[in-house]
């Protein structure tokens, strides 16, 4: 990193110390200004005092300390250590002099690009509100929120401080986590309302239609409508059930389930139930059980739900009449590896990490047509985590998908 010979110049130490102290006090009284600012200010104040002492002690030498063109100034200077302070910060910090980036620390270069030092500050940060903070008088200290710097979902707050007439200190504070949490919450509420509203709209539409006497007389139409209404009501029921189980599992996730569940008979039972219900062709699902150690510490209802969801997906999104392989084996580290493999279209690579998000669907219309709520894998993930297990989704486009769940056996937990 090419570091320039930089000085914070021509500020009388007393003045800068005082104004920084004032800034510090203003900052403390503004709740919106967070601790990083305070820490920078503290650093600079401490360093200012320290330097004042040094420069007083070495007053006769202070002019020769930096051989630059400032020797006609009557005040002592901050030497290159200004840059050192900035360089030592973990957060992205810039020192801007008259609209040009004079110093950028490593974090700033990583975030904004290696080209920024020495260039116009607008080449580093081009958000209009930020440009105002960087170039116009600072009458208040409210930070600017920058979206998308360093990644689509990253959020940064930009704080600017005037050190003197020309120089400004720019600090960027990472707000991505807070933003993400808030986003997840908003999305969840929005999605849930939307998912509930769609069947509701259908239902009320048909109720209105059924109030029409002519329609009531026509028996076939009435049946047809009632069929649709029943289906929509069922969809709402499913959604509410899924939401309830999600929150139930989430609430209980801190304590390990305390039943002993024998896995292979349960899996066999569910597979034969699915086949008996006509959802799958008689020999469509193959179960291969290689377990020697079969007991897990688990919750029977949850494991059942997990299996229905994963096998259900394999049936829904697999090739029509394609084979589904359910495999059970032990691993060396006292866990059971349960894998469900289908021969469907697979899942495009970039969707895989997001599948366990609530309401995330690869193909919305298809999942909806198949009666999905988009909560299945979110529930699976919660269940797996409750059991201290691990979920892996592998998919090859055009070939099929394998969902693997690792669950610890009873041997895994020392009693």
């Amino acid at each position: 990193m090419a570091r320039k010979d930089c000085v914070i110049k021509s500020v009388p130490v007393y003045l800068s110390g005082l104004s920084l102290l004032a800034l510090f006090i203003i900052a403390v009284s503004h709740v919106s200004v967070g601790w990083p600012i305070l820490s920078v200010l503290m650093l600079i104040i401490v360093w200012g005092w320290w330097f004042k002492n040094i420069s007083e002690a070495t007053a006769p030498f202070s002019d020769t300390n930096n051989g630059s063109g400032f020797s006609d100034q009557p005040y002592p200077y901050f030497p290159a250590t200004a840059a050192d302070v900035i360089m030592a910060m973990d957060e992205p910090v810039l020192l801007v002099n008259d609209g040009q980036v004079e110093v950028a620390n490593r974090a700033a270069e990583n975030l904004l690009g290696m080209h920024i030092e020495g260039g116009d500050v607008r080449m580093a940060i081009r958000h209009p509100a930020a440009i105002r903070l960087l170039t116009e008088p600072l009458d208040n200290m409210s930070p600017v929120l920058l979206a998308g710097l360093g990644g689509l979902n990253r959020r940064w707050e930009l704080y600017a401080y005037a050190l003197n007439e020309e120089q400004r200190l720019i600090l960027l504070r990472d707000q991505s986590t807070a933003h993400l949490t808030e986003q997840v919450r908003i999305d969840f509420v929005a999605n849930t309302s939307h998912e509930l509203r769609t069947p509701l709209a259908t239902l009320s539409g048909f109720i209105e239609t059924l109030e029409d006497d002519d329609v009531i007389k026509d028996r076939d139409t009435r049946h047809h409508f009632l069929g649709i209404m029943a289906r929509e009501a069922k969809r709402m029921q499913n959604l509410v059930d899924d939401l309830m189980s999600l929150s139930r599992i989430e609430a209980g996730k801190f304590s390990l389930p305390n039943e002993i569940v024998v896995l292979s008979p349960l899996v066999a039972e569910i597979v034969s139930n699915i086949q008996a219900s006509g959802q799958a062709k008689p020999s469509q699902i193959t179960l291969k059980n290689q377990l020697s150690s079969d007991n897990i510490q688990g919750d029977r209802t949850e494991v059942t739900q997990l299996l229905y969801n994963i096998i259900g997906n394999a049936l829904k999104y697999g090739r029509k009449d394609g084979q589904i392989m359910v495999n059970l084996e032990n691993t060396d580290d006292h866990r059971i590896k349960l894998s469900i493999k289908d021969e469907g279209d697979g899942i495009p690579f970039h969707h895989i990490p997001r599948l366990t998000e609530r309401f995330y669907r690869v193909d919305n219309s298809r999942s909806r047509a198949l009666g999905g709520t988009g909560l299945g894998l979110a529930i699976v993930k919660q269940i797996v985590e409750h059991h201290r297990g691990e979920l892996v989704i592998d998919s090859i486009a055009g070939k099929g998908t394998t969902v693997t769940v690792f669950l610890p056996t009873t041997d895994f937990f020392p009693d």
Binding site: G113, D120, V121, M123, A124, P128, A130, H194, N364, S365
Partner: protein, 237 residues
């Protein structure tokens, strides 16, 4: 970039002008970027006020374009830049023109927000926000590439274009099925289609800028891309 034949002082003054021009383009880019992301937000959350603000702010972008053109002309007439520098100035001028058009597309989308507000929800069309996100990322990355003179980044932006086209076709198909299912949705879908078309055009323009950045940085045309070649060819004369 500096010519050995030029004397120190002149070169410095010239670089400052050129740097100023590049910074101006970045500033304009920042405004275009905000116009685009705010438009998408206004669209997704049916925010009429935000949409109106975007339409209003477009004037500032137009003003910046004129400013960029003025600075560029001044540089050309006062400094008579040669070779690389001239190419830089011309590229900046062209890019400012393209940015102005991109902002116009964003404005067109914003203008549809109040119209769509009284219509069927666009929630069933999640492809549109995804497309918007992708196009915004293209714009952001191409501006980063411009500021950093980074040909590799520019090349990646151009690669996105195919994906955006794919999404556009996908969306087109989805909207067609929506219209066939329910004729009451036709006018909503037509609006959405125009919006998608506008987004797709913004993506195309981002690719055009990417090609210029690549060319300016390497002196070579971006490999394996036929579209936009004419733009670069005219730059050579």
């Amino acid at each position: 970039m500096k010519k050995a034949s030029e004397i120190g002082h002149t070169v410095k003054a010239f670089d400052e002008d050129l740097g100023g021009l590049r910074a101006l383009i970045c500033e304009m880019g920042g405004m275009t970027e905000i116009a685009l992301t705010s438009t998408l937000e206004a669209l997704i959350h049916s925010n009429k006020e935000l949409a109106a603000k975007i339409v209003e702010n477009d004037k500032e972008i137009d003003a910046l374009e004129m400013e960029a053109e003025r600075v560029a002309m001044r540089i050309i007439s006062l400094r008579a830049p040669l070779a690389d520098d001239l190419r830089d100035v011309i590229a900046a001028m062209k890019i400012s023109g393209i940015l102005e058009r991109m902002a116009d597309y964003a404005k067109n989308i914003a203008k549809r927000v109040p119209i769509l507000q009284n219509m069927v929800s666009i929630h069933p069309v999640p492809v549109l926000p995804v497309m918007g996100e992708m196009v915004s990322e293209m714009v952001r990355n191409v501006l980063d590439a411009y500021a950093a003179r980074d040909p590799k980044k520019a090349f990646h932006v151009a690669e996105y274009d195919m994906e955006v086209d794919g999404l556009y076709n996908n969306l087109f198909r989805i909207l067609l099925t929506y219209m066939m299912e329910d004729s009451g949705r036709i006018s909503t879908c037509i609006h959405l289609m125009f919006i998608a078309k506008n987004l797709e055009r913004i993506g195309d323009h981002a690719t055009n800028i990417a090609e210029m950045v690549y060319f300016a940085a390497t002196g070579k045309q971006m490999p394996e891309r036929t579209r936009g070649k004419d733009l670069l060819a005219s730059e050579d004369n």
